[in-house]
Amino acid sequence: MSATRGRDDRPDIEPASAVEPWQRQRLEAFAVFDDARLLKSYRTAALILRDRDEAQDATQEAVAQAWARWTSLRDLSRFDAWFERILVNTCLNRLRHARVVVTVALDEDVDFAAPEWHPAAMARLSLDRAFVRLSPEQRAIVVLRFWRDLPMEEIADRLGIATGTAKSRLHRALKSLRDAIEPVQEASE
């Protein structure tokens, strides 16, 4: 099913007399939440949260929230943006309420000069570690920008912030990530 179907392009449903209104909505929702959309949502959550179990939970929560508000969705053509905003908020919620964040300073246990480290692996490791140090919003912006390839205006919409704010946060996030991989690049040169 296309994500951008309009109201007039819904799947066939049983006559109104045969099903309850919510059952019609259920058919509609089943059609919208196809595997492709679920996988895309799960991937986005997994990248933001860096935890696949958490991502599964977050996706389920987002689906439950969306279903609970289904009657407020007036235009299915806006579904993707609407649902992605719920999903991102769910991920941010989980990150904000995480009580303990485990961080390990990059230079504590990684010797980039060690010959067994391949530069690409080192870069990924550095990014892994730098990414989890970003704020929840920065994580989301990086994923929406570089994985989802969303323009900044849409990223700002997903997060409910001004476009300028989104840009400045992306700038700071990129600086943090670049600072993390610089030593790797220098060590490999």
């Binding site: 939970d57 309420h97 485990v102 610089e182």
Partner: protein, 521 residues
């Protein structure tokens, strides 16, 4: 490395692409089918039956909310006993007076439904606790799954104030989770959207005295000081999905003014205390640019934003509470204490350095301060937590760690206890009370609802179960309660429970919204 920037972005894209999951987890489609098996209004209930880890996340937030609420009340109780401007008036707009009856069966107080809209109090024979039912209107949280803030606050001079939002009432009423039916629509008009203010001298009889001037308002905290009542919270959805900061002030609980404290990226106001610089309202910020959102006011009417200095940025996520000590505003963050006399300039006053002070890796032990109370024997106690870092964002098993302090700043860890879940604490007339929902013994899902349970301690170290509590909720997952909080005015202890039904076609919603108060000495 400026010349490498385009490659850096490519590296980031490659890294994201390499680390993205390739396939859909099989359980996700199953979960979707389960979620969609119920009408849309019931869907939020399904989230509780997902995994233990996700429920733990909610438990943690609820615990944090309880910590914040209780600590503020304690601060008020300890230091703000100066004012009591409100006098009940016979012209109150509505009154719900509980009529106490006794039940001979301690195991089943036999709550018999009273006429619609009439509050009812039931005391089990031989018990010192009274179950108060329907003294307050339905409290139906938004479509969030987070436990709502405790709506009842103790007054330093005695008595209680409650703020109950009637917003989103329409269409969210469910069947009754316990034996008594939920109030009918006639008793609780649908969707008025107002937050009603109630007062009570004893936790049992409640009088509605006013409504807040903001639609769909949720009060997260309230303090009574300097001749004013200052309530803080948000309007609309619970944070972080929505919720602009709101501050309401009243001199008599009848007439309220709302302060305009909205600003870009502002956080929902979550706590208020009164200290040397006046009222301080604090919210957890939504971004690194606003890790905290502080507002301060001398009179409770004119508010100024404060940009605090000296606080670590990441603290907003882990803050254990804020209170007032002779040194000024005092923040308990994990096992560190921060103080400020003016709410703007902060300094670290103390940091625990023993085992568990600096967890870094999965499995590392950690300790944390919790809500702090003045001890009757002098000094302070804090009911914090200890455990091991789970490695991910979700916590692992935790224990209650009692801390002791002579000055409220320097703390020593004491005894560790393991009882109850989702505990809230209050200081009573002869010690401390902990209350929480106790899931069935075979319930390993981590659900935050269950049968009400409470414990008492005189020294903060050794806890004894309260044996004569009325039965509120049961071990049946479709008939249980969540404990929103426990408050004490020094004479009465009020445990605030919310009916929490499971997700069934009959009940539909996770919570019925019925507030049940258990009042004891």
């Amino acid at each position: 490395m400026t010349s490498r920037q385009p490659d850096d972005e490519r590296d980031i894209r490659d890294w994201l692409s390499d680390s993205v999951p390739r396939t859909l987890p099989p359980g996700l489609r199953t979960s979707l089918e389960r979620i969609l098996s119920e009408p849309p209004a019931a869907a939020s209930a399904g989230k509780w039956s997902r995994t233990r880890r996700s429920v733990a996340s909610t438990r943690t937030f609820m615990r944090l909310a309880a910590v914040l609420a209780v600590l503020g009340i304690v601060g008020g109780l300890a230091l703000l006993r100066s004012s009591s401007p409100y006098t009940a008036s016979p012209s109150a707009t509505a009154t719900a007076t509980a009529t106490a009856t006794e039940s001979p069966n301690p195991s089943n107080p036999s709550v018999v439904p009273s006429p619609t809209g009439t509050a009812q109090a039931t005391r089990v024979a031989g018990s010192s606790w009274t179950l108060v039912d329907r003294a307050l209107p339905l409290l139906v949280p938004g479509d969030e799954w987070l436990t709502p803030p405790c709506p009842v606050f103790a007054r330093p001079g005695g008595g209680f104030v409650a703020f109950v939002s009637t917003a989103r009432r329409e269409g969210t009423l469910s069947g009754n989770a316990l034996s008594a039916p939920a109030p009918s629509a006639a008793a609780t008009p649908a969707g008025s959207g107002e937050t009603e203010v109630f007062t009570s001298p004893d936790g049992m009889s409640w009088t509605m005295v006013s409504t807040l001037p903001t639609p769909d308002a949720t009060v997260a905290d309230m303090v009574e000081a300097a001749g004013a009542f200052v309530a803080v919270g948000w309007a609309g959805l619970e944070p972080p999905l929505g919720g602009a900061a709101e501050i309401w002030t009243s001199m008599d609980l009848r007439t309220w003014s709302a302060a305009d404290v909205s600003r870009p990226e502002a956080a929902p106001a979550q706590h208020v205390v009164y200290g040397p610089a006046g009222f301080l309202v604090w919210g957890v910020g939504n971004s690194e640019a606003f890790p905290y959102d502080f507002w301060i006011s001398k009179d409770g009417l004119n508010w100024q934003p404060v940009t605090p200095s000296g606080l670590p940025q990441g603290m907003a996520l882990f803050m254990g509470g804020i209170g007032i000590l002779p040194g000024g505003y005092t923040i308990y963050d994990s096992a560190t204490v921060w103080q400020s006399a003016d709410a703007e300039h902060w300094a670290r006053a103390w940091a625990y350095t023993g085992p568990g002070a600096s967890p870094k890796l999965e499995g590392d032990p950690f300790v944390a301060l919790g809500p702090a109370f003045a001890a009757s024997s002098g000094g302070f106690v804090s009911f914090g937590r200890s455990g091991n870092v789970s490695g991910g964002p979700m916590p692992g098993p935790e224990h209650i760690l009692t801390w002791a302090s002579a000055d409220g700043i320097r703390w020593s860890p004491g005894k560790t206890n393991s009882f109850g879940v989702n505990l809230a604490f209050a200081s009573g007339s002869d010690g401390f009370v902990a209350a929480g929902a106790q899931p069935a013994a075979d319930d390993t899902s981590g659900t935050p609802w269950g049968k009400l349970a409470a414990w008492r301690t005189s020294d903060g170290q050794t806890w004894t179960p309260v044996a004569d509590l009325p039965t509120v909720g049961s071990t049946n997952p479709s008939a249980a309660v969540e404990v929103l909080g426990v408050v004490s005015d020094g004479r009465h202890i009020v445990i605030v429970c919310l009916d929490a039904s499971g997700s069934t076609p009959a009940t539909g919603m996770l919570r019925s919204g019925n507030l049940r108060l258990v009042v004891g000495p």
